[in-house]
């Protein structure tokens, strides 16, 4: 019982590895389909969600806060899928979207630039120079995205439990390594971990519902006891209380809701 996120440099055969792991462990393999789910649930065009998770935030995004909202929607869809465990996620930024859950096994698949260039040239039917340019651009966007939004460098190996360079190990070897690592006690989800995942999913869902009232809202949940922090005024806080009151029927996992004006003392989960 585990949750594995496989983050990959583009064209690094991460998808094959993820599918291999899912097949071996009989886990569900989740990827871009969560974008579709988020798009359905929140009625946002998939392309916008994709941009939100793919491109570094522009000035406009930072003013309009659209990107934060989109990422919340994606995170919500993802958490909904992984909260029961037995999932391999190999979409974008899994290690970041599931930040805060210790038991999630975070894997990074890398490939020698030459191998990536070869893959691009073959898949996209472009020349070597163009392939190199594309890879450099994607890597740069990715780095900017995580730096701007989360202040970390995706190339920092300490973010991951396992970093595999695919060149010599190959897809099968990487699959075997990951499956073996995943069987360790450290990654096996307990009832409490599942509760934590479910709380995160709940707080993320509620946050996405409250974003239209305050885009800076912070929502935390523990055992279904929800805390909402807002820097907005009392009127907006009351509005949130009303909305949460009306949502309570839809989310039976909510036991208690409190809206507070201010910021949380400790770092919040969502």
């Amino acid at each position: 019982m585990a949750v594995i996120t496989i983050s990959r440099g583009s064209y690094s055969k991460g998808k094959e590895v993820a599918e291999g792991v899912a097949a071996t462990l009989d886990y569900e393999c989740v990827s871009r389909d969560i974008l579709l789910e988020a798009s359905d649930r929140f009625n946002i065009p998939e392309i916008k969600l994709l941009q939100a998770i793919h491109d570094a935030p522009s000035i406009l995004d930072r003013v309009g806060h659209g990107q934060v909202a989109y990422i919340t929607y994606i995170q919500s869809a993802l958490l909904e899928r992984v909260k029961e465990g037995n999932v391999v996620y190999h979409g974008l930024a899994g290690h970041i979207l599931l930040k805060g859950i210790e038991k999630v096994m975070k894997v990074r698949i890398l490939a020698n630039p030459d191998l990536r260039i070869a893959v691009v040239m073959e898949r996209e039917q472009v020349g070597e120079k163009e392939a190199r340019r594309r890879i450099a651009k994607i890597d740069e966007e990715r780095t900017k995205w995580t730096r701007r939004l989360y202040g970390v460098d995706p190339w920092d190996p300490t973010l991951y439990d396992l970093v595999i360079c695919i060149d010599k190990i190959k897809v099968e070897g990487a699959t075997r390594l990951i499956c073996e690592a995943a069987s360790q006690e450290a990654f096996s989800l307990t009832d409490r971990d599942r509760q934590k995942l479910s709380d995160m999913a709940l707080s993320c869902k509620l946050k996405s519902e409250l974003l239209d009232i305050d885009h800076n809202v912070t929502v935390t949940a523990e055992y279904g006891n929800v805390l909402v922090f807002t820097k907005a005024d009392d009127r907006k806080a009351r509005k949130m209380e009303e909305k949460l009151g009306s949502l309570a029927g839809r989310f039976p996992e909510i036991h208690n809701v409190e809206v507070r004006i201010g910021t949380p003392k400790l770092s919040a989960d969502a």
């Binding site: 009832d191 523990e222 208690n256």
Partner: protein
Amino acid sequence: MEQLTTEMIMVMAMICVAIFLFIVEWIRVDVVAILMMVALPLLKLVTPNEAFVGFSSNAVISIIAVIIIGAGLDKTGLINRVVAPVLRIAGNSTSRITIAISITVAGISSFMQNIGAAALFLPAIQRVSKRLKIPISLLLMPIGFCAILGGTVTLVGSSPLILLNDLLVPFNLEPFNLFDVTPIGAALVASGIAYFVLFGRFILPRPKTPEETSDDASPHNPTDTYDGMGEPRELRTPEDFTHYREPLTIGELRRKYLVNVVALSEPPSLTTVNPPPDKELRDNTDLVLFGTEKNIQRLAEEEELVLKESLEVFRDTLSEENSGTVEAVVAPRSALLGKTLKEVKLAERFQVTPLAIHRQGRTLVTDISDVTLGVGDAILFQGTWKRLQDLHDEKLLIFTTPIDVEEMKPEKALFAGFWLAVALTMVIVFKIQLSVCLMTGALGMVITRVLSIDEAYQSVDWRTIFLLAGLIPLGIATEKTGTAAWIAHQVLGALGGSVPQVVLLTVIGVLATIFTLVISNVGATVLLVPLVVNMALAAGHDPRMAALVVGMATSNSFILPTHQVNALYMGPGHYRSVDFMKAGGILSIIFIAVMIGTIYVFYL
């Protein structure tokens, strides 16, 4: 026979005014008494000295002293020790508690002054009411009435019966023995208890507001604002609690169900107060916690704990006399401003548990130790009164609920018991006047620091004192002007010489009952006994029985709060005159019926 004089008419008018004011309650009963105290000398029905003689009367001083002695005994926990076994037998049922305490009080009252027994038990009854959440009005009246009825069980139980043999001497009648009256008295106590057990719920006043359920010391219940969070609940883990589950800690319970565990008791008998968050719950553990009813129910259900109906293991630890909840507000310029409860370590420093924070119409219970405090935040604290008092004294917060601290002094129990024994020895062995003996006991308790003189003063209820002292001149006027004698002559004269003995005794009983409501029971006895003995002799009936009826019926004083015991219990019980008329009126009729019936069966 004496002629009806203007003075007699005026006295009767004043009695009517007093009774009228008792009924309509335009002014409070003690004020009616003061009115009598002032009006009677102005009307020249008593002398100014006589008007205020009540304050120096043996009866009133005795009552003051016995209340102080009672407070002292209560403070050392002595009365609790007497009451505890009685309550253990009685359990939690109101009627069983009434029966148990009534029998105890009646038993004590049969050998000592009724008012003494009543006053000694008053603090204990107030405690029981608070602890078991039984409205005090349901307990005090039955017990008070039983204290009065207990006075008829032996010949030394009440002043009229003590006097009775002396009054029979001039007629050369055979004196009564100590237990001659016991069958009648026992029947009266039994019928009194049966009356309240069977009909108590219909005739006793129920409090309208929750505040009246206990003593008037707690005027505002802070927990109303907090979804009943201030009520402790006790739960127990089952025998197989730790089997097949991840360990559950106190901190987790708090986070999961938003409850505060304030104490737990593990087998064999290890009690932990304010257990740390990492403390794991084990099998067969009793824990007491605070939280909303909904969350506690959820906890019991999900974790399969047994939720008890009421406190069992922690009944004494968390009883309202030891601990409670108070609301305190963060004041402007308070040192707590801008800090969290965790930062200022209030819980650790003062050993109190913050249960909730009320802020701008919101009640916060989740992670409240991390809430940054602002001006006007109200915090609900739970703790022992002593700890809460310490917190209060720190002046960090403004307390919106008064702290009901009552420092117990169990170490002074020996002194308290000693002075009670001294007072009783002086009364019984040395036959010194009651007020002197009791005041000696009260003084002894103050000198040996069982209670301070201020506490002694505070324990005396001025309502009681003025009510009793104010009605004494009315009794004096009734006797001095010959009104009582005139009424007695008129009534008995109207009966004529040839009535059956039962009728004669009944009329004497009714007459004595009416007299004792207005004039003192001793006064009524002294006045009536010679009259009824002569009448009985003239009619050829047993004069001793006629005298006995007077001695007994002068204890039949339930209709007005004029009897000492009724006056004493009226304030704390939140009773009105109407309550006495309703409950006491029926009991007075039962009293006469049972008394005459028992005399008929046993003595005629």
